[in-house]
């Protein structure tokens, strides 16, 4: 990348309005422009910085688009096999209960191959935080149908749309997990507007802080787009997400402080 020219008259400390969090590395992210992963990463990094827990954090990355998250977040990280992040996190937290332990997983990882690990970690009430990025598709492998793919939604393995009679129904893991007595905080957020970003950040902070209470698992779902996989421009993808994903995956808290939200 070419060296950027900096206007030293403008780049003064008193003119600073935004600074990259120190918990993000300088590595250029590989995500497609318009993808929600970058924003979600930044929010997690900001919360870690604000809580001053960088040296207390162990993150577990999944298999999927965010497999390389350890390149971007400047905390100790483990890379799990596909779907198994909650099992790793269980061991890490039980061996080091004073640390902040989180997983970051996509929908294929968390809601298909890792369903058992997700449900059982939640049901055991592991004091960990799960970040669940739901874009209704397998992004990394090229846009195949995910457990969260909407009815009639096209993907490379449902080229004529998801026929629920043939391919089964989309799975609402967040609703499922909220039912379990082992979860303490379950919420669904988005990061496509500044307002949603602010709300999502609050949820992320709460999910981390809950670990100190030792009352069970916190799960933050972030409904995101996959403009490449959906074959749309970033803007179209966000609009499509609001129109189609949000009615099926409604925004907001499902469970707060161990109580279901009506």
């Amino acid at each position: 990348m070419a060296e950027q020219t900096v206007n030293k008259d403008i780049a003064k400390e008193e003119n600073l309005v935004f600074k990259k969090t120190s918990v993000l590395t300088d590595k250029v992210m590989h995500y497609c422009p318009g993808c929600g992963h970058g924003t979600a990463h930044r929010l997690i990094a900001e919360v870690i910085e604000e809580m001053n827990i960088q040296s207390e954090c162990i993150g577990i990355t999944p298999v999927g688009c965010s497999v390389l998250m350890y390149n971007y977040l400047d905390v100790d990280m483990q890379e799990a096999a596909h779907g198994r992040a909650p099992a790793l996190a269980t061991a890490v937290k039980r061996l080091m209960p004073e640390k902040f332990v989180f997983t970051y997983q996509g929908d294929g990882d968390l809601a298909a191959i890792g369903t058992a690990e997700t449900i059982h970690a939640a049901n055991r009430g592991e004091n960990i935080t799960i970040f669940f990025i739901n874009n209704g598709i397998y992004g990394m492998t090229g846009g195949q149908m995910a457990p969260t793919t909407l009815p009639n939604m096209k993907s490379s393995t449902s080229p004529y749309g998801r026929d629920v009679k043939m391919m089964g129904n989309p799975l609402k893991m967040t609703e499922l997990v909220a039912q379990l007595p082992g979860t303490y905080y379950v919420t669904r957020q988005a990061v496509h507007t500044p307002k949603d970003v602010r709300k999502a950040k609050k949820a992320i902070r709460k999910a981390f802080e809950n670990q100190k209470l030792e009352r069970g698992l916190s799960l933050v779902e972030i409904v995101s787009n996959c403009n490449s996989g959906w074959k749309m421009t970033p803007l179209q993808a966000n609009e499509w997400m609001v129109e189609n994903m949000f009615p099926f995956y409604p925004m907001g808290d499902l469970k707060v402080d161990g109580e279901m939200v009506k």
Partner: protein, 355 residues
């Protein structure tokens, strides 16, 4: 002070692990090794040493918990039996690929498939040749007594940490279920300092630690593979362990490990009563395999018989070590059947001496 107990092999593994200062056990019940988890739960190691014991939702979850714990630099282990070990293979490959130490116990039962709950040695290939995907090896220890079940726990952990590689105790239902005298080591404290590569939280002023088996750069991935292959060569150089029995004047050699080796000791006695000069070589490490010693013995004896509770797996390693110098035969029982000492002598007479 060492302590003398009468214990089942499975229980000896559990007790030895607590005493070796293990930090965690993650497992899932399966016959014939459920006593490991049962014993640990009954012993409340969280009160004795602070050790974590957790019954996982599956073998898959258990091995991935081992991965997570090992990545924190802790002494962690799991145990299972053949079908469960098959399920763990993905995780074991990741653990090897991330260069993490851990101990895996396989109390082998007969297969394939659900097979039988009776003892077998049919997982030799799986244990010694890698098991999961990719070019990797486990350190494979083969106890043949309850005492060795206990001793190999500490040895397994020590080697696993020395080489940053998973170690496996490959045993079977007979030794797991059998009770013998065992001298237990005194309690060792759990570790308080952890390896510098462990993910225990990024230290201020230091680079973060990343535990991963992923490298999308092929040149780097090949370099990594060469590095771990070098490690396996080092193990072959330094860690071969075996025991010989009546080998000094032997004209014929039995090679057997684990339960089969116990039966073969009796066969050696029976054969010598008949005037046949037989010795027994018992590998205690199956990887690294005692290639050099077997090659040496091949220059001394007229023939070698591999005795395994399998269709003939270790015999391939024996043949590779012998390099055609003498006749090598195989005598196997399968499906949970254990050889009788007499039939081994008969097999030696028919397949090697007369053959």
């Amino acid at each position: 002070m060492k302590e003398l107990k009468l214990m089942k092999g499975n229980e000896a593994i559990a007790e030895a692990a607590i005493r070796a200062g293990a930090d965690a056990y993650f497992g899932y019940p399966i016959t014939p090794q459920s006593e490991v988890l049962e014993y640990l739960m009954a012993e409340k190691p969280h009160e004795r040493t602070g050790m974590v014991v957790l019954q996982a939702e599956s073998e898959v979850a258990a091995i991935n918990m081992v991965y997570g714990g090992a990545a924190c630099g802790r002494k962690v282990f799991t145990s299972s039996s053949s079908p469960g070990i098959s399920l763990k293979q993905e995780g074991i490959s990741y653990i090897a690929g991330s260069e993490l130490p851990c101990l895996i116990v396989n109390v082998v039962r007969g297969g394939p498939g659900l097979g039988t709950i009776q003892p077998s040695q049919s997982d030799y290939f799986q244990a010694t040749k890698g098991g999961g995907h990719g070019d990797y090896r486990l350190i494979v220890l083969a106890p043949s007594s309850v005492q060795e079940m206990a001793d190999f726990v500490k040895l397994g952990f020590d080697l696993a940490f020395k080489y940053r590689n998973p170690a496996m105790i490959l045993t079977d239902g007979a030794i797991g279920q059998m009770m013998e005298k065992v001298w237990l080591e005194e309690q060792q404290p759990r570790m308080t300092e952890f390896p510098e590569w462990a993910t225990t939280g990024k230290k201020p002023g230091k680079e973060r630690n990343i535990i991963t088996s992923l490298d999308l750069d092929s040149a780097m991935q090949e370099k990594f593979n060469l590095k771990i292959q070098e490690k396996y060569r080092e193990m072959e150089e330094n860690e071969v362990r075996y025991e010989t029995f009546e080998c000094d004047d032997a004209e014929y050699l039995l090679v057997a490990y684990g339960t089969s080796a116990r039966i073969c000791q009796k066969s050696v006695q029976l054969a010598r009563e008949k005037g046949i000069k037989v010795g027994l070589l018992r590998p205690q490490t199956l990887f690294p395999f005692p290639k050099k010693k077997i090659s040496e013995m091949a220059s001394q004896v007229k023939g070698i018989l591999s005795v395994e509770m399998s269709a003939g797996q270790m015999v391939e390693d024996i043949k590779l070590s012998v390099e055609g110098k003498v006749k090598v035969g195989h005598f196997g029982r399968m499906g949970g059947i254990i050889h009788s000492a007499e039939e081994i002598v008969t097999a030696l007479e028919q397949k090697i001496i007369g053959g």
